[in-house]
Amino acid sequence: MFCQKSFQNFIGKKLLAGLLTLTLLFGMFSFFSMSDVYGAEDPAVTVVNPLDGTTVYSSSLLISVKLTAPETIRVNLYKQVKNDSNGNPVALTFDEWSKVRSERTAIVSGTALVAEPAIQVLQGWVMEPVFFTSTGNLAFFTKKVENLSVGVYKVKIDTMGPGETVLYTTEHIVFLKEKTAQPVQANVFENSQTGTVSFLQNLLKSIFGR
């Protein structure tokens, strides 16, 4: 009797663990398939600007992509947004993005207790996708996107195959901040001469020539 009960318990736990694992795997698969990983990166495509994870203190963004093979790419820019309590999309804050990133890392490494991040990140529309075709072994796609608001953005480059198929995807995240938030740079002329020294030097130069 006891043996039968413990066997049933054992089977039940196994089933539960299996179900949990399956749920976790499914959650991870569905989450990343929707938002991050569409496939391997194209070796012939390099996103020169912006570099992944950089901060830009401007309201405009330069997208520059280097292609080293004849192919067609589709370039898109998304703002990272979430739905608020009323279901309206609002921009993800930098802190929220950091939290999502760390949660994703924990999920991937298996240390997370949850199957998906607390915030569901959505891709906010910024511009119409742009297609660019390179005919040679070296070409550059360049575009300036203007009037952007502060936030987290994703540059997504799809390498297009026959029809509408996507062969590769390359993504870069960039943080846009106010120009005024730019860290104050050290004075370029901190170590330059004082006025008196300059004055004396100029005086000597004018007397004795250069």
């Binding site: 020169v48 600007n49 330069l62 520059s64 120009k179 740079q185 100029n202």
Partner: protein
């Protein structure tokens, strides 16, 4: 005592007159000696023809930067490569707002001005902040600019010889910055500093921002490894202009040619031979060839005058001499009556005292046109003009349309044509051998990339075209190579070695 008769009185009178004549001759000879005038060059025409038929331009009117750059301080830039004059200098009553020369003039009125040499890195860092920069493809002496614009340049600025760039940065408002490209030196002129709202550069900055095309450093577009801070214009749309032109001789006919020749040889062509050859060239020759004007078949007028330089002259005075000469010999008016602005594009100075100086000019309208060779070249020796070449164009058909660069952006033109560019640079001695990848060699040698209207050389018949195209500028050891590419298909359109 014998009273002097009528004969004696006449004799005394003749003596007195002779004395007066001798006295006046002595004064005249002293004047000739003092002014170092060559008597062989004097003739009646010199005394009669020196009236100006056209307004005399001042040096301030003909000097203007080839490019103005503006840094937004966030890695993006604005560039103006067309007619920069409205931002550089205007007569005081223009009402357009402060200009660059006005801002510099105000800055230099400070009491204590110091000059210090700075490093290239410091120069680039401070100008990467919000700043304005005027660029001269052919460097100009600072004292010429000081004289032309009445800047109160203190003795401290004497160490600065040539100006290839002059700049102001809001990151260091007490300073002006100068680059001497010939000697690769960078200077900081330190003044009193001022409040931002009082700076004339603030409203100029805003005005330039409105009129400029967006540009990014090549490093940002290509990646860090090809480190070259040259700016690449990235306009979404721009005006594309294509114009066919003919020459002044064809447009103005014999009347125009004769009227120009009369300004050199007088209305009656005294002592002047007029020779016409079978090819259509007409030569006007005064005396035994002391002064010669050749009206070429293709519509170019070349005038030469013999004679040694009479005295040494400053560059500013030579430029004034050249402009004065121009006003007496056709000015900038074409046969159809259109009057152009002049832009001093190059100064060719030979070494040695009293050595001739040649001023090369382009013609500017609302837009700026760059020439494969200038429209006007005037050579001044001392205080005399010894050579004059006039090669104006007369527009025929012109089309302007808004154009989108599409796939043929400047970087793609570079990517498509780098092998051809490398080949041309090799042929012209810019590289000895291909030590590294051609693309890297070409991008490292780049000095400037611009979208400009180019007047291409005319055919033997004297016709040609002006077209908007991508221009790539390379410079090495004083040599300047300009390469032109179509904005429609990125194909090479030619190059000029200056």
């Amino acid at each position: 005592m014998k009273e002097p008769g009528a004969k004696g009185i006449t004799k005394e009178f003749i003596k007195s007159v002779t004395m007066v004549v001798l006295f006046l001759s002595t004064i005249l000879l002293l004047y000739v000696f003092w002014e170092n005038i060559n008597p062989g060059q004097m003739n009646i025409r010199n005394l009669t023809e020196q009236e100006s038929l056209h307004p005399v331009m001042t040096p301030a009117e003909v000097v203007a930067p080839d490019e103005i750059q503006l840094s937004y301080g966030d890695g993006s830039y604005g560039v103006i490569t067309g007619n920069t004059r409205a931002y550089w200098w205007t007569p005081q009553d223009s009402g357009q707002g402060p200009t660059f020369t006005y801002g510099v003039g105000e800055f230099l009125q400070a009491q204590d001005i110091f000059v210090e040499e700075i490093t290239r890195d410091q120069y680039q860092q401070v100008l990467a902040l919000e700043s304005l920069k005027s660029i001269f493809d052919d460097p100009l002496p600072l004292n010429l600019l000081c004289q032309a614009y009445g800047w109160d340049c203190p003795s401290a600025t004497e160490s600065i010889q040539q100006v290839s760039e002059i700049a102001y940065s809001f990151g260091s408002m007490e300073s002006l910055f100068v680059k001497d490209g010939d000697r690769n030196l960078y200077y900081r002129i330190i003044g009193n500093g001022e409040k931002i709202e009082q700076s004339p550069f603030l409203s100029l900055y805003q005005r330039i921002a409105l009129g400029s095309k967006v540009a990014y450093p090549l490093t940002l577009l290509l990646g860090e490894e090809e480190a070259n801070p040259v700016l690449v214009p990235l306009p979404s749309e721009f005006p594309y202009v294509i114009t066919t032109y003919t020459n002044e001789r064809a447009a103005g006919g014999e009347d125009f040619e004769k009227s120009l020749a009369k300004t050199f040889f007088g209305a009656t062509f005294d002592f002047t031979r007029i020779i016409q050859d079978a090819q259509g060239t007409t030569t006007y020759m005064y005396g035994y060839g002391q002064r010669v004007l050749v009206a070429g078949k293709e519509g170019t007028f070349r005038y030469k005058e013999e004679g040694a330089p009479t005295q040494e002259a400053t560059l500013f005075y030579s430029l004034e001499t050249a402009l004065g000469f121009l006003s007496r010999h056709g000015g900038t008016q074409d046969p159809l009556g259109k009057v152009y602005d002049l832009h001093l594009s190059k100064i060719i100075r030979q070494s040695g005292p009293s050595a001739p100086t040649t001023f090369v000019f382009d013609l500017w309208e609302d837009s700026a046109i760059r020439y494969e060779g200038g429209a006007l070249a005037i050579t001044v020796s001392g205080n005399r003009v010894t050579a004059f070449t006039r090669d104006f164009h007369v527009p025929e058909k012109s089309q302007t349309q808004q154009f989108s660069a599409g796939d043929y952006t400047a970087v793609n033109v570079l990517a498509t044509n780098h092998q051809q560019m490398g080949q041309v640079l090799m042929e012209n001695g810019f590289f000895q051998d291909r030590k590294e990848e051609t693309f890297l060699m070409v991008t490292k040698a780049l000095e400037s990339i611009r979208l400009e209207e180019i007047r291409f050389s005319k055919t033997e018949e004297g016709v040609g075209k002006i077209e908007t195209c991508w221009c790539f500028f390379f410079e090495k050891d004083g040599k300047r190579l300009e390469m032109y590419y179509s904005i429609r298909d990125a194909l090479p359109m030619g190059y000029t070695l200056r």
